[in-house]
């Protein structure tokens, strides 16, 4: 574990947020297995310390872009269960009014610019958000989350080049969970991932993505520096997804061994290990942590029940939101 900070509240919030992600995913999986959720979903379980360690270093004014595996980023950036479950089930009260679903879930009011179903699809968006901050003299920072598999997209290299040339306040956060779909990372990535950023003169770091304090420490430093115009930065976070690529990917022996999964789950779990550290440091007892988890599970259950009986959007919403309205007054010459 990274060395001590004394802010008990911060520690407890990080723990809470990680548990909130895990519990959200347990419920999402259950909804899928009981055929109550339309479509598929990609679970974030196992990677909680990445989203939480980073997002806890951000304010509501800072932006993130998320991925197809986006529930964790969404929770970590401050979203509520109720609207998230409503979105997952395609209900009107969902964050995207049911139009986005799991792969586009985002609480926009906390600076989440959206989950993206196109691998690498948000790299331009994140970099553009950082350009806007610079042009408008704003000191917010944008974090671009993407997976190891997404480093194969050429777009990343185009935008990193520009971000470096223009010193943009963007942090590229590569969640390296060892796999892209059914393929091991070493089979799809030549050379070193961080070296690619370094080739553009971007400072790059590798961090243990299972250690929330290590992730948070590094993030605090980089966010502070990015605010001062010292960006961009690149971080590779070594992590692991517990479930299959998506909830339907159950028989996965052909690409990933059960023993490997067991090692990560039993020895490297970010929540269990951080919980142990909290107890050892005398910050919270095992009972405190259990009580917190129970409370979160109860909140999740209530939110799921609510979402299950919530109403679907009215059919009239189908062609709403294709175009944003423009105030005709702004179109008058001289306006």
């Amino acid at each position: 574990m990274a060395d001590t900070k004394t802010n008990t509240e911060d520690f407890m919030r990080m723990y809470r947020q990680m548990v909130r992600i895990r519990v959200f995913e347990d419920n999402a999986n259950q909804l899928y297995l009981s055929a109550k959720m339309p479509g598929l979903t990609h679970m974030y379980s196992g990677e909680e310390a990445v989203a939480v360690g980073i997002c806890e270093a951000l304010t509501d004014d800072d932006r993130i872009t998320s991925t197809h595996r986006g529930h964790g980023h969404c929770v970590a950036k401050g979203a509520d269960y109720k609207q998230m479950f409503c979105e997952l089930l395609g209900k009107e009260e969902g964050y995207c009014r049911g139009k986005g679903g799991s792969m586009h879930i985002a609480d926009q009011s906390h600076g989440n610019l959206g989950a993206n179903a196109i691998v690498g699809g948000s790299m331009g968006i994140a970099t553009g958000s950082a350009l806007r901050a610079k042009l408008q003299g704003s000191d917010d920072v944008t974090v671009c989350f993407f997976g190891d598999g997404a480093t194969a997209q050429g777009l990343l290299y185009e935008v990193m080049n520009m971000a470096a040339l223009w010193q943009l306040p963007v942090i590229y956060a590569c969640e390296n969970n060892g796999y892209s779909e059914y393929t091991k990372t070493e089979e799809i990535a030549a050379g070193s991932i961080t070296a690619r950023a370094e080739a553009f003169g971007i400072e790059a770091f590798t961090v243990d993505g299972q250690d929330v304090l290590a992730v948070n420490d590094l993030s605090q430093k980089l966010v502070a520096r990015a605010r001062k115009g010292e960006g961009p930065f690149f971080v590779e976070l070594m992590t692991y997804r517990y479930h299959g690529h998506h909830v339907g990917d159950i028989n996965r022996d052909y690409y990933r061994e059960k023993e490997e999964e067991a090692i990560w789950k039993e020895q490297r779990d970010p929540i269990v290990n951080f919980g142990k550290w909290l107890s050892e440091e005398g910050i919270a007892s095992a009972e405190d942590l259990k009580a917190m988890e129970d409370e979160i599970r109860a909140e999740a259950k209530a939110a799921v029940d609510y979402a299950l009986s919530a109403k679907y959007p009215d059919e009239s919403e189908v062609d709403m939101h294709v175009f944003a309205p423009t105030d005709p007054a702004t179109l008058r010459p001289g306006a």
Binding site: P38, G39, L40, G90, K91, C96, G98, K99, G100, G101, S102, M103, H104, N116, A117, I118, V119, G120, G121, G149, A150, A152, Q153, G154, S180, E181, Y182, T183, E187, I188, A189, Y254, Y255, Y312, P313, E315, E317, V318, D319, V322
Partner: protein, 331 residues
Amino acid sequence: MRHITLSQAVNEAIAEEMRRDLTTFLIGEDVAEAGTPFKVLAGLVEEFGPERVIDTPIAEPGFMGIAVGAALTGSRPIVDLMFGDFLYLIMDQLCNQAAKAYYMSGGKLNVPLVLRTNLGATRRSAAQHSQSLHALVAHIPGLKVAMPSSAYEAKGLMKTAIRDNNPVVILEDKLMYNDKAPVPEEEYLIPFGEAHVKRAGTDITLIATSSMVQVCEAAAETLAAEGISAEVIDPRTLVPLDEATLIESAKKTSRVIVVDEGHQSYGITGEIAGRINEKAFYHLDAPVLRMGAMDVPVPFSPALEDITVPTPEGVTENARKLMSGEMIHAA
């Protein structure tokens, strides 16, 4: 005759052609051990090895460009694009490079390449995994476009596509992979540019692509019970298009609905309707009707998604209106 799934039909077609022609190879994401997320290509890497069934990183423009280069220089690549929605990523390689090489080189360089991908909504996959984008590629001179409506077509069209000396885009409906149809054991190919009259009729023509053929067959069944005889025609390839068969049917029935899952505006339905208006004008008793998907990004919520695509009920309803003269908007 044996019945096999559309997925098996595609797999068989590719396997047969890969045995027949050693210059063919498959390339795409998770095509080898995983056999694609839809398992369509399962078993091919075992037979042909990783040299001819090539897993790529998630780099669509890159592997598409590589396939174009290989095709220009003597290979016959079959490119697997996991979702039709990713067409946007490869448009330059497909439309600026592959589609134009033969023309720009004055006939000296050609690109014998198959791009197989998919289309189709109602899988609850939201706006970036549900699009039917065949109109985009059908718009580009130099690309051939095929859309199988069953396992039978999927096999016959794929074999023709692989032997064609041009870039061919084949779009399969991802909801039909498990649908079974009779498919002969013996080898057959389906020539491009030959529409198939799925059901003969005399009162109204329903022209339908891909899974919309099933939709129109169901509608035709309902209409038959009401005494309306509908002819259902599947063009099978959009480029080349068997205009003659479509026009002939329009002249015979005098009423036509064109049904397609792409967005209705600026799409396939308008193109086919336009050709019929030009060439069968005096034979028509009603305007040719277009039924495409709604002009909205595909919504996730089942409550919204299902109303964006043509249904048998919708086709039936419109057919009744055309028959009763309700759709004739006299000025």
